[in-house]
Symmetry: C2
Subunit: 754 residues, 2 copies
């Protein structure tokens, strides 16, 4: 799986043309995205007032991403240098790994930037379209086409990057790809966390002062936090999500390519590129066939096109597997395991099918647990009649339950792929191929997800401008509810890619340890051994810690927003009667500053915790650590996403006139549930997916260094490195805690005196 295995698997001319075709398909995806982009931009832009508001949102979002880019550049350069210092087999591998780390990071950021920019263009156009005749179809179409652009860019850039690495590096591709995946995952994690803190600080802050204290509706222009709230939707839900899914795409592909040549020889390096290339084609079909039939719910239309495109993927991938791959291992070019029995074509086909079916089941399961028309959300809505406490408890139960079933389904997929071969390398490759199967749906998934924040923002612009008809507003509310469910689905799919990629990357981890140790004995991190078990415990703990830090960061930043909005209401009584325009920019600045400051602690935790465990407790404990983080991370991510989604939609149910409707006690109870769910579903939950991948890739990258230290007996230096890592994390936690108290103390006092 590592360099020395692959070095022999140089690409023949025919192989190179296969990769070249894949690269062309990837570029074609970008071209399709451009066509869709033109269509979106050509749509009507509504009234001048709507354009004014949209402009403010655009400027705020651009300013945030610019500052985030500066912060991340410093961090990226540091990691680039650290990466350069880590052991590698050859110099070109060392250089390639660092260069492609930067490529992954830049691509990830670019996709995020595109998602954000486009979404700020589209929200205005969706709001305007809802006002027109045939508004529902028009608005749905623009929102979904917007998603299509981002989806095409995600799969196009991801596939193009991977194909490029394979073309250029062939034999050394795996180590270089580790860099590419790491860059993508690291930046995506920061964008997820930073954007998540921004969006929820603004949202929660706006709600606490607006809805709860002043009793003014959501998105009311008198609330100084409304622009920030809308900016947040774009930098969190669009930029963060797009970067995250790009990262999922890249890392899964990386895992498959690393394992491919070891398991299947040269064809193993090509087949994982062919599967997502098919996915690109079906994603194009999926985006173009999405049309809501008259009177049909937007979610049904989206689901239909998902299932159709998944089915097409399934058929084409099966055909590809049987035509491209031989029926015996002896027939594979350059295969290490020519003596194995079994049918490579069949194994690959079944593995890919497992991945596609997994995507379908998660779609259904998440829709069931977070959709307004199914039992769970209805039940949460019912519990609003006995108050906020029962809403919280029922939402937590829904989250726990859905997490369990999702985890079992993902576990079943991993186990099913694992059973496809008795050979460990082939089994791991099958798991990675299941991940590639899942990837074929990413284009449509991104399109679905982008739908959510675009609709949410369109609603915001409609409300703030007051220029959208009642009918138009109703359409936008419907689209927003659909968006809540599609957002939860994306998170489910993303976490599934994390498990599949991470499981497959374990193969790369073991191989790195074996290579560095030069031993014939297989590396074994026996979970019944106390050091591995302690690793599992710490890995699980880091997921809790990360989630707690993210939730806390939102609370702190929201506190600062609350304070600022209160201050504006207090200092300018004219704001309340509408005669004075609030200073929106100040709240945007606060959110920008706080979210960039707050993302450092969880970010440092993700990078340095595996370093501390690996150097301090050894490679067995680090393996346990990753296992614990994957298992607990999966459950926590789904729990946070789905309980948040259920609360949000339970609130929508009440607002649609159930259980007393808007303004009732039941409504207040669901608003509390929704506020609790906000940082769950949009900050902590979605960031766990890139977290797992970052920790996995850090571990794969540092494993050879740890083994070298252990073999050389450099215990003192090893422990020093671990202690430095612990000190960095501890210092970050202490700094953010201090900040917490300072903020918590000041506003309370000042408000009391106000």
């Amino acid at each position: 799986m590592s360099g020395q295995h692959l070095a022999e698997a140089a690409l023949s001319g025919g192989d190179r043309s296969v990769v070249a075709v894949v690269a062309v398909v990837a570029l074609a995806a970008l071209a399709v995205g451009y066509v869709l982009l033109r269509e979106v931009l050509a749509a009507g832009q509504g009234t001048a007032k709507m354009q004014d508001i949209a402009k403010a949102v655009q400027e705020g979002a651009a300013a945030y991403l610019k500052r985030q880019r500066n912060t991340l550049t410093i961090f990226g350069v540091l990691v680039f240098l650290l990466l350069f210092a880590l052991p590698a087999d050859t110099v070109s591998e060392r250089i390639g790994r660092s260069i492609f780390f930067l490529a992954g990071a830049v691509f990830s950021f670019a996709i995020g930037y595109l998602g954000m920019w486009l979404s700020t263009q589209a929200n205005l156009r969706v709001a305007a379209a809802a006002n027109d005749e045939g508004g529902r179809e028009k608005a749905t179409r623009i929102a979904f086409r917007t998603g299509g652009v981002v989806g095409m860019a995600t799969v196009g850039l991801g596939l193009f990057g991977a194909a490029l690495v394979v073309l250029v590096y062939a034999g050394e591709a795996p180590k270089v790809l580790e860099g590419f995946g790491f860059g993508a995952a690291l930046i995506a994690m920061f964008m997820r966390v930073g954007g998540g803190i921004f969006t929820k600080a603004a949202d929660v802050g706006a709600d606490l002062v607006g809805k709860v204290e002043q009793g003014i509706p959501e998105d009311d222009p008198r609330n100084a936090a409304t622009i920030a709230d809308n900016v947040g939707d774009n930098v969190g839900d669009c930029a963060g999500m797009a970067a995250d899914l790009f990262e999922s795409y890249a890392v899964t592909l990386v895992a498959a390519l690393i394992l491919g040549s070891a398991a299947f020889g040269t064809q193993g390096l090509l087949f994982p590129l062919i599967v997502p290339a098919i996915g690109v084609i079906t994603a194009v079909i999926g985006v173009f066939i999405t049309k809501a039939r008259p009177g049909e719910n937007g979610l049904s239309a989206i689901n239909r096109s998902f299932y159709i495109s998944a089915l097409i993927s399934l058929v084409l991938c099966t055909v590809a597997a049987f035509t491209f791959l031989p029926t015996s291992f002896a027939g594979l070019e350059g295969a290490k395991n020519a003596a194995l029995t079994g049918n490579p074509g069949l194994i690959a086909a079944v593995a890919v099918i497992i991945g596609i079916v997994l995507a379908g089941i998660i779609l259904w399961l998440t829709g069931y647990y977070t959709g307004t028309e199914h039992k769970p959300v209805k039940h949460v809505g019912e519990t609003s009649e006995t108050g906020a406490a029962t809403v919280i408890l029922s939402g937590i139960s829904v989250g726990f339950e859905s997490a369990v079933y999702t985890a079992i389904v993902i576990g079943g997929a991993v186990y099913g792929a694992f059973l496809l071969s008795g050979d460990v390398t082939v089994a791991l490759f099958a798991i990675a191929l299941a991940g590639c199967g899942l990837l074929t749906t990413v284009g449509v998934i991104v399109a679905m997800d982008t739908f959510g924040p675009v609709s949410d923002n369109a609603q915001g612009i409609a409300e703030m401008s007051g220029d959208v008809s009642e009918e138009g507003a109703k359409i936008l509310t419907e689209l927003d509810a659909v968006g809540n469910t599609t957002k939860a689905i994306t998170k489910g799919i993303a976490i599934a890619t994390a498990v599949l990629a991470a499981t497959a990357l374990f193969g790369s981890y073991s191989e790195a340890i074996r290579d560095a140790g030069n031993t014939a004995v297989d590396f074994a991190a026996n979970i019944v051994s106390p050091n591995t078990l302690v690793g599992v415990l710490i890995g699980a703990a880091v997921v809790f810690m990360f989630s707690g830090l993210a939730v806390n960061a939102v609370s702190r930043a929201a506190g600062a927003v609350v304070y600022e909005v209160r201050r504006q209401f207090h200092d300018n009584p004219g704001i309340m009667d509408g005669s004075v325009r609030p200073e929106y920019g100040r709240v945007v600045d606060i959110c920008t500053r706080d979210s960039l400051r707050e993302l450092m602690t969880p970010g440092l935790l993700a990078v340095f915790a595996p370093i501390a465990v690996g150097f301090g407790l050894g490679v067995e404990a680090l393996a346990g650590y990753l296992g614990g983080a994957i298992a607990t991370g999966t459950l926590m991510a789904v729990f946070l996403a789905n309980s948040g989604g259920a609360w949000d939609n339970a609130k929508k149910l009440v607002e649609d006139g159930n259980h007393g409707g808007k303004g009732s006690d039941a409504h207040e109870a669901t608003v509390i549930g929704d506020t609790v769910g906000d940082p769950f579903k949009d900050t902590a939950g979605p960031a766990i997916n890139p977290l797992i991948k970052v920790m996995n890739l850090v571990s794969v990258l540092i494993a050879p260094a740890i083994v070298t230290f252990i073999i050389d007996g450099d215990t003192a230096l090893r422990i020093v490195i671990a202690l430095v890592a612990v000190a960095i994390v501890a210092a970050a936690v202490i700094v953010s805690k201090r900040r917490g108290s300072a903020i918590a103390d000041s506003p309370a006092e000042q408000v009391n005196s106000a």
Copy 2:
């Protein structure tokens, strides 16, 4: 570690007298308990009205436990037969294991019953004492002495049972002890779950109708659920907790004894009995020196006596280790590892010290995170000013954070003990000895814990009777707040014993597999292998599922209570004006019926999930499963316990006049937090400790059967067993879901028409 190793380690005459002395110490503990009991019962019983109320509580609690005993008897007999069917080395081992399973089960139930009975006697006396002059000291003394009785009974019976097994079975003790521990853990789990559902259904139900809907205070006699609420404190917090700590005691001792002779020869079988015998002596000291100084907080007094007795334990255990154990492995009688280097006395001393220090750190950490005088709870209190949502979020953050630190401390203790020897068996024994060190504090811990529900009930009796002076009521409120923290501490200690015992039992698990397989190769469940990793994922999922089921069960049962109380208010308007006495008995009956019905699903999950994983996916996946359950279980248990404790005490802070005091919006926000925390801290959280042990012991018991099936190639039968286990769990989940909807539907309709 298993029978064949131990068979040679028959006890000499001198050894037998050591064990006999330990048994006498255990009996002496029971005698001290009796003396304390006499003192408690001799205290004044207050007014006739108070006695009336206490009597109703006593009857309700006794009725519940009687019905629970009947339910558990059926379950116990079934498991007894299943256990008898499992493979064993000899017939006497098979019989002994089943017989001592019953002994463990009966002891566990008996301790629970005693805890409950005594607590219902003591609450009245504490309430009466608070009314007297010097009330604070008197009330504190009675409450703490009551705990002392239960503490003495716990350590006395646990130690006596283990000593008896060693005396009678010597060589075959380990397998028999597995039965003893399993019986204790299984019954404790049912009592924890059943009692936890009862107490919180009544508490939440009473609060929802009383405080929230009708605006009457807690424990108001017009609320039909008040008696049930007080009964619940006794069957949940007293009976459940006492059985749980007895089980922790028994299983930790079992783990140490199983590993002892393999690691240290005969002395290894004796030393784990000597350590808790020392614990008995120091517990007696701890109970007798607990006296609040004038004006001192009850918690300070309890903490002081804990630290003093822990220090005495530490000194005595160190002395015992160095005098009883030799300075080299060659000096150990019958040691398998005579060739090992290292000092057994030093290893044992350090291991025990690690355990005692661990108890001290957890005490401090939990006190910090849940005590009213420290930052975290104060912070949760502050967030009440911005509403219920921020209270929930800050409480969840406190829970996450404290879980992380507690898990890291426990992991550190495990790793520290593990480092004491390079030999795996000795290292595992050191971990078990750390567990024994922790055990030396159990006597005082139980006394601390019982303090909580007794004070809570005393407050209830005072409120309902109206016969306690204002000063007396204030004293009882203070004691109740102390009780919230001590209850959280107990849960922290209990989960630490679970991790230590489970880690040590992994040794027994591997040994069972090796024995059954007759192979020379070490069993390895490599976490980087997908089947083990899937096991970890499922193990983590079961903890989420169990927690979700427990929370759901409380919601459902509370719904039934709400409905009944509403019905009584509606049908008898006289209840509200105080002219008609509500039918307390009906609510007690509902809680009894529902909690016994609801405990079946989580109970079946705990027993059958490991069977499904083990038979279905093999012993590696089962090892992963246990690892995942231990890691996630530890974090979840501490999270649930501490967030619940923090919310409860934040409410107390507000009720003490902070942030607006009783009746303010801030108060309402903290009441919501407390209601969410109720099933967290008193139902789901504490049940995770016995859950982990039950799953561990089931796995140890079934491991030989799984290996035999695999070796014999009986794949079909193996899969059938797994499917039957899955079907049982699925059926139980579906039945409880159906019940859920039926209950949820009926009251809502009837209430709307009412």
